[in-house]
Amino acid sequence: MPGTRIGEKALTCLLYLSALIIIGILLAVVGYIVYKGLAMINLDFIMQAPRRAGKEGGISSTIVGTLYLTVLSLAIAAPLGVGTAIHLEEYAQKESYFAYLVTLTAETLAAIPSIIYGLFGFVFFVIYLKLGWSIWSGSLTLAIMVWPTITRTAQEAILSVPREYRENSLALGASKWQTIRKIVIPAAIPGIVTGMILALGRAIGETAAVLLTAGTSLGMPLSPADPARSMSVHLYMLAMEGLSMERAFGTAFLIIILLLFINYLANRSMSFLSHNGG
């Protein structure tokens, strides 16, 4: 084949170039926001309540709102998701209609765009269940949204526990639940935790669904029945309505830092737990 050598050289260049572009994009996005946002960050910005619709003051109430929303949604979704995963992998018959249905459900839920969750949360929780724009509505909506993430990762983690472990445990005279509790879940913990951290990230970043279910109130949320504005919604409002670009940068910076931290946690949990256990 003539020209093969030159062709391969060109291809190599192209591949390196595309990798550079990706790195460039990341550096541009993160770098610019960090560069601009860093100037805004101080204790006041974090600790003070927003004033004049966010034009002045800090973002403390949105931080609290975000924490409220994510923790609550995770608390709802995690047991459900892990439970579903255990049921699917350990109890349900693999070929059964029910298992197929659940798997299909998880896939579909994972694919549904967040705006649809927003719509649903709005009609169902806010209006139909009369929860109003509240942290409850937002968390429940987010919980449904992140449930497939948790289920899927937990399912995969459980699936990756070798079949031999179970057989060995059963052959030692352990019951099924003993086997799951003592062997399967400990071995799958790294995957399960990673799934939860991923869900956490997704919940923090979510905007559209939260916007439609938790409202945009800037007041400090005290109970889950109160409406709240999350940091990402706050960023959206600030930017779209051009209220305060500096504060927008500051918020974006905080979101990115939070996510970086979560990303780091996910990596650590994966490697730490897998080294310790697996």
Partner: protein, 253 residues
Amino acid sequence: MEKAIKMKSRELNLFYGNFQALYNINMDIEENRVTALIGPSGCGKSSFLRSLNRLNELIEGSRISGEVFLDDSAIYEKGINVVELRKKVGMVFQKPAVFPMSIYENVAYGPRIHGIKKRSELDEIVCRSLQSANLWDEVKDRLVAPANQMSGGQQQRLVIARVLAVQPEVILMDEPASALDPISTARLEELIAILKTRYTIVIVTHNMQQAARVSDYTGFFLHGCLLEFNRTEELFLNPRHNKTEDYITGRFG
């Protein structure tokens, strides 16, 4: 030198859905002897082995007819405690599946499951089991190390120690050496020779030479039937069936 019959199967049939995997198996397994099961792939060796401690029940759609006896009690009888049965009839699998815990915890797993909580008691069981599995000297200084840092052969012996810790009477082994290198295999075979003085062992192996080396009795399976069952020496030197002869001389298929 005839010994007592520890386990026996009578007219055992096994089905996976509509597929019949075993046909009328009658086998007597002598106490304190090694019984080897050989035969071409898919002939039903593993299926038979797993039906000896009802592990076949884990497979969806598997059904059984006929009887299996352990010490004259029928293990498929209603009301039999499967957990008790599996305690008595332990199993070692092809791939050494050590649990992702420390060496100590691996061995203590079974006793813990069965309700032993006292540390001193556990310590003693762990020590005794590891000694019986010929592993104590190699691991006594690192009992808390993760078990999966051991070599394949050590792992397989650890799995055996784990089985010994629940004080079984019969040990079933499904191709326990097929994932091991020749040296580990040799050590495992030595271990089997020692263990048979105290336990009854049934071993499935693809390796005819291995069956010949370790076992006192050998059963040859073909298409789900137990074609020939005899003293190992007889079976390998003077097989009664032509099919057995063909298989062990490698003229098969």
